[in-house]
Symmetry: C2
C-alpha cells in the first residue's frame, strides 16, 4: 500500500459549480463515471454507475405502478409514417424531430418508419383492436423503453437524442377516470421524487402553449436546480376522447351503447438523473440520495495490509446485508479512495482500521455534510439505517430551503427580467391567460411558464404583462 501512496494521483479536480455550472455538470457526469459521450452523435453511453441509478428509480416506480394495477408490455420501436400523421397536433409536435428509417437491408422501403419519439399512436391502434366492452376497461399499460428525438444540442441525461423512459398509456370508460388517472400518476411521480430522490417539487398544470401535442391538459411537477434554472422531470397528460375519436377506440357500455374511451399518458425519463446531479451535487462531486445510490455504504479498510483488517471489513459488509455495500479492497491509497467515493456521491463512507477494531468501533462519514461520527460496532446496522434516513431528510430540507429562498414574486416584466438575470429562480406572477402575454415573456425575458400551481396564491390582481385583470398565479422561470 505505502508504495503507491506517494506517486498516486488523486481524483482530478472538477470545475467550481459557482463559477462554471455547465462545466461542473459535465465534469461530475464523466468523473463519477455516470455517462460518457458515444460515437453516435447526440447519444450517450449510460455507464454502469449511472445506469444503476436508473435501475433503482425504475424499481421504485415499477412497484408503485404494479400496486396501483398497472401492467407492463412492450410495443414496437418503429412507427409507420401514416400512423404518426393521424392526429394533427401530434404530428406537428413531433415530425420535425424524429429519426427516419428508409432502408431495410439493401432495399428501400415503400413506407418510411420513424423511431418512436413517444408511442401514443401505437397504443391507440392496439386499444382500437382490443377494447370492445366496458369489461375491457380500464387498460392501465406501461412500457419501459428507449425513445429518440433528433435534438440539435444535447447534454448528458438532460437532452440526448436517444433516452430511456417509461411511458404509461391508459384507456378508461369516462372523462372523470382519465383525468383522475393523470392526477394519480402525478402524485406517484412527485412522491417518488420527494421521497426517494429528496427533491422538492411544485405540482401544477401546464398552460395551453406548454402542453403536450394532442393533449387536453398536461400536468407537471417542476423542480429547481442549483443554478436557479427549472427542470421539468415528468408530465402526465389527459387526452379526454381526442385520440379515441381519431383511432376509433369505442366500447359497448352496460346499456349496450357505443361510447368513446378516454385516455391518459405519462412519462418520466433519464432526465431524472440530471435533476439528482444538479439539485444535490457539490464541489466534491455527486451527492446521492440513499434510496437510489448504487452503493449506500463504501467500506474503506485503513492500513489494509495489517492482519485482520480486510477480514473485518468483509465481516461488516456481511452484517450490512440489508444495504448496498461495497468494500474497496483495491491497491489504491485511502486518500484516492476517499476522493473517488466522494466524487461518486456514496452516502456513507465507513472507515475501519486496526485501532478501530481494537476499540470495537468504526468511523462513519456522511457525504452530504462531511460530518464524521464514531460508532460502536455492536449496533452498526441500526446506526447505518438511522444515518441513511437522516441523510435523505437533510438533503430534502436543504433543497427545500433553497427552493423557498429562490422563489420570488414579480409585478412587472422588468422585475421578472431583473430577478432572472441577477438571482435566478422561480418567479410567481399573475397572468391573464392570454397566449400573447406568454409569448411576450418568452421573447423579452427568455422565460417560460413552468406551471399554474395547484396551490394558488394571490400575488397581485393584474396580469404583470398587459395589466388586465388576472386570476391565475403562474410560476415562470428559465428551464433546461
Amino acid at each position: 500500500m505505502s508504495k503507491n501512496k506517494g506517486n498516486e494521483k488523486r481524483v482530478e479536480s472538477i470545475a467550481d459549480m459557482n463559477v462554471d455550472f455547465a462545466q461542473w455538470y459535465t465534469d461530475v457526469v464523466r468523473k463519477a463515471e455516470m455517462a460518457e459521450y458515444s460515437k453516435t452523435g447526440g447519444c450517450i453511453i449510460f455507464r454502469p454507475y449511472g445506469f444503476a441509478i436508473w435501475e433503482l428509480i425504475r424499481k421504485h416506480l415499477d412497484e408503485k405502478l404494479a400496486a396501483t394495477g398497472h401492467e407492463n408490455l412492450y410495443m414496437p420501436m418503429l412507427i409507420p409514417e401514416h400512423m404518426l400523421q393521424m392526429e394533427k397536433d401530434h404530428i406537428e409536435g413531433f415530425a420535425p424531430e424524429v429519426a427516419w428509417v428508409t432502408h431495410g437491408g439493401t432495399e428501400e422501403l415503400t413506407e418510411r418508419f420513424c423511431i418512436r419519439p413517444t408511442s401514443e399512436v401505437l397504443f391507440c391502434a392496439h386499444y382500437a383492436d382490443t377494447v370492445q366492452s366496458y369489461r375491457d376497461l380500464p387498460k392501465l399499460y406501461n412500457q419501459w423503453c428507449n425513445v429518440m428525438r433528433w435534438e440539435k444540442t444535447t447534454r448528458p441525461f438532460l437532452r440526448t437524442r436517444e433516452f430511456l423512459w417509461q411511458e404509461g398509456h391508459t384507456a378508461h370508460a369516462t372523462a372523470e377516470e382519465s383525468l383522475a388517472e393523470a392526477l394519480l400518476i402525478l402524485d406517484i411521480y412527485s412522491n417518488l421524487t420527494e421521497d426517494k430522490l429528496a427533491i422538492p417539487v411544485i405540482k401544477g398544470q401546464k398552460t395551453e402553449r406548454e402542453k403536450f401535442a394532442g393533449a387536453l391538459a398536461t400536468y407537471t411537477f417542476e423542480s429547481l436546480m442549483h443554478d436557479g434554472k427549472a427542470l421539468q422531470t415528468g408530465t402526465t397528460h389527459d387526452f379526454g376522447d381526442k385520440f379515441a375519436k381519431v383511432f376509433g377506440i369505442q366500447y359497448l357500455d352496460k346499456n349496450n351503447q357505443l361510447q368513446y374511451a378516454h385516455q391518459s399518458s405519462w412519462g418520466i425519463s433519464t432526465r431524472m438523473i440530471g435533476a439528482i446531479i444538479m439539485v444535490h451535487g457539490d464541489n466534491n462531486g455527486l451527492v446521492l440520495p440513499p434510496a437510489i445510490a448504487p452503493i449506500q455504504v463504501v467500506i474503506i479498510p485503513v492500513a489494509a495490509h495489517k492482519p485482520g483488517v480486510i477480514e473485518k471489513a468483509e465481516e461488516l459488509q456481511a452484517r450490512l446485508k440489508d444495504f448496498r455495500v461495497k468494500v474497496d479492497k483495491s491497491d489504491h491509497s485511502p486518500g484516492w479512495k476517499f476522493a473517488e467515493y466522494e466524487m461518486k456521491g456514496v452516502p456513507i463512507r465507513l472507515e475501519i482500521g486496526p485501532r478501530d477494531i481494537e476499540s470495537n468501533q468504526c468511523i462513519l462519514a456522511r457525504r452530504d455534510t462531511g460530518e464524521k461520527i464514531t460508532v460502536s460496532l455492536d449496533n452498526l446496522e441500526e446506526e447505518v439505517a438511522k444515518l441513511l434516513d437522516s441523510i435523505r431528510d437533510n438533503m430534502y430540507e436543504k433543497a427545500a430551503k433553497r427552493l423557498q429562498e429562490n422563489t420570488y414574486q414579480a409585478q412587472s416584466m422588468d422585475e421578472l427580467k431583473n430577478i432572472l438575470d441577477t438571482t435566478p429562480g422561480f418567479v410567481k406572477a399573475m397572468w391573464c391567460g392570454a397566449d400573447a402575454c406568454e409569448e411576450k415573456i418568452k421573447n423579452e425575458a427568455t422565460a417560460t411558464s413552468r406551471c399554474m400551481p395547484f396551490e394558488q396564491e394571490q400575488v397581485g390582481k393584474k396580469c404583470f404583462v398587459c395589466g388586465e385583470s388576472a386570476d391565475k398565479m403562474v410560476i415562470w422561470g428559465r428551464a433546461y
Copy 2:
C-alpha cells in the same frame, strides 16, 4: 352468474397441435394474449401476459449475472455505418439485414446509422476508450435492450424484426479468461433453462459454418420442440483478441507491457418464450413452468354469489402471499374461467365454493396433468409449494423423455433424411469436419448442425456423408 351461463361463449378452440403445429402455435400466442401482430410489419406487440414472462426470465438471469460480478449498462441503439464496417466478418454477417436511419427530422444525414442488430462494435469502442491498465480488467458488462434485424419471414417470439434480449460483452486480460467466461455463461444459461423453464438442453460448440460472424468459437445450448424441430435459444462467443486488434483495445500488464484484451459476448432473447410454448404446450393451450408463470395460482370462486365465498377466496390469496396469485372475481362463468386459465397455462387452479368452505378444504387442479386433488385449508401454503415443485419436475421429466425418445443415430445421408422426414428430432452422426459435407447435408437434407456436444459419443467411425474417418459426433436437425 347463472344469468350469463347460457349465452356465454367458451374460449374459442385452437388448432390441433398434431395436425397443424404452426397454426396451433399462432393460436396459443394470440388466444393466451401473449402477443399480437402490430401495424409495424414484422414486429409484434408483447402483450402484458407475454411480457410478464420475459420480465421473470430477466429477473432470474439478472440475479445470476449480478452474483457473478456482471454490471448492467446501456449503449446507444444507433451505430454509425463506418463502425459496423470495421470488422470484416461481422459486417458481412449483419449488413444484409439491418435497418438504416438516413434522415433526422427533415435533414438527410451525412452518415447513415443502422439500428443495432447486436452491439459488439459499440462495446469495443468503449473498451478502447476506458481500458488502460490491468486494473481495468475484467470488464463484465451486460445490457437488456431491443435489437433489430430486417427479416423477410417472421413469427411471433421466434423470429421478429425487433426483439428483446440481453447482450453481454466482456473484456479480459487473457485468452483463458475470455474462454472461461463464454463457458461460465453457457452454464448459467443452460441451468436457467433447465431449472426455471423446465426445458432440457444439449450443450456444445457450433461448427465453423454455424458460428457467430467474427467469433473465434461459438457455444450453444439446443433444445427440442414438440414437433421435433430444434431451437437455438442462446449462444455465447469467445472472440479471443480478434476484435481487440481491430479496435485497439490494449492494456498495460503488471510488467508494464502493452497487451491486447480478450473478449466474449453472449445473449438470450425473447425466443425463449417461443421455446416455452413449443416444448410444454398442449391442445388446451399454454403450459407454464411455475418459475416464470405470471400467475402461479388462479383462485376461482365457485357459486361466488353465495355469502362468504369471495371473502374466503381473498383470504386464501392473502395467505398465499409468497406466490403470484390472482382471484378471478369477474362475472364470467366458472366454465369460461377454467378454459381461460388453461389456455394461459396457469400451473395451479384453486377452486373454492360453499361446500369446500364448510369442510375446510379446496380443490387444486394442476395444469400439466389435469389431476385434481382435495387439500385441507390448514396446510394450503405447503401444499401449493409442493405442488409447484412437482409440476416443474414433471414438466422437465416429460420433456427430457421426449428428447431422449426423439434422438436418433444415422450412418448415412439416406438414413438422416428418412428420420427427419418421418420422425423428426435430433440425429447424432459422425462428421469428418469438412465444410463441404456440412453444406451437402444442408442442401440434400435441409438440416443443419446444431452442435458438437461437449458429451461426445462414438456413434460410428466414419463421416456419414463422405465416408472419411471422423472423430466428431455432431447433432443434426431441422431448426427454427
